[in-house]
Amino acid sequence: MADQTLNAEGLNCPLPILRAKKTLKGMSSGQVLEISATDPGSVADMAAFCKQTGNELLSSDSEADVYKFEIRKA
């Protein structure tokens, strides 16, 4: 279960990443953030963001037109 959720639906690049960063900043190491987004570009961007920052992308799924991500803070 996620420790925190972020609704980034309707936001376009680079806002989902910027909001994710801001939310993660207020969380503790090991906690999980669940994000929902509608920007199709966020699938590749969230993976790149995690790879670069060391945060772990636990899952990346889509349901209908919504993309869901789970990130564990490094």
């Binding site: 309707g10 990443i17 910027l18 790149a48 920052t53």
Partner: protein, 167 residues
């Protein structure tokens, strides 16, 4: 933000921002804020027409002039924006308003929003001192938290950066 200066593998980027129209304001602010969110140490150097992007009151427009490939989505298709449009009085701010409305509808951040994010993410924003003097701006016209500097200040950062962009 992580204090990246203390990390051996810290990456850094500098961007020279030379244009202050609405359309040209996006690339530096999008790349700068995204890089900073990815723990990259970012420096943005605002010079010539780019300097207006640091003004407290932003009133950005843009011109169809010189944007020969510009098309706007309209009635299910795309409409070319003729260069001639730019001759009409008020065309720049009208085009700016149209673009801002379109961006808001598509969930694209405003420049104000990206600039606030740049401040939050502790991007080093440097105003070109020479441009301030040239166009008779005062630091009172500019947002708080910016530095002043010249070409040597930029070069010192650029020589230590992994990525250097001129936009």
């Amino acid at each position: 933000m992580l204090d990246t200066k203390e990390l051996e593998n810290a990456k850094s980027m500098s961007i020279i921002v030379t244009k202050g129209t609405l359309d040209w304001a996006y690339p530096p602010f999008i790349l700068g804020t995204t890089a900073a969110a990815m723990d990259v140490e970012v420096t943005m150097f605002f010079t010539f027409y780019g300097l207006v992007l640091l003004k407290k009151d932003l009133n950005l427009g843009f011109s169809t002039l010189g944007n020969a490939a510009m098309e706007m989505p309209m009635m299910g298709g795309h409409m070319k924006m003729p260069n001639m449009l730019s001759m009409l009085p008020g065309a720049g701010s009208l085009a700016g308003t149209m673009m801002k409305n379109l961006m808001a509808k598509k969930g694209v951040a405003s420049i104000e929003e990206l600039r606030e994010a740049a401040v939050d993410l502790e991007i080093n924003m440097i105003a070109c001192q020479m441009t301030l003097d040239l166009f008779e701006y005062s630091t009172d016209d500019m947002i708080d938290g910016i530095e002043l500097g010249g070409a040597a200040t930029y070069m010192e950062r650029a020589l230590n950066s992994d990525i250097n962009l001129f936009i």
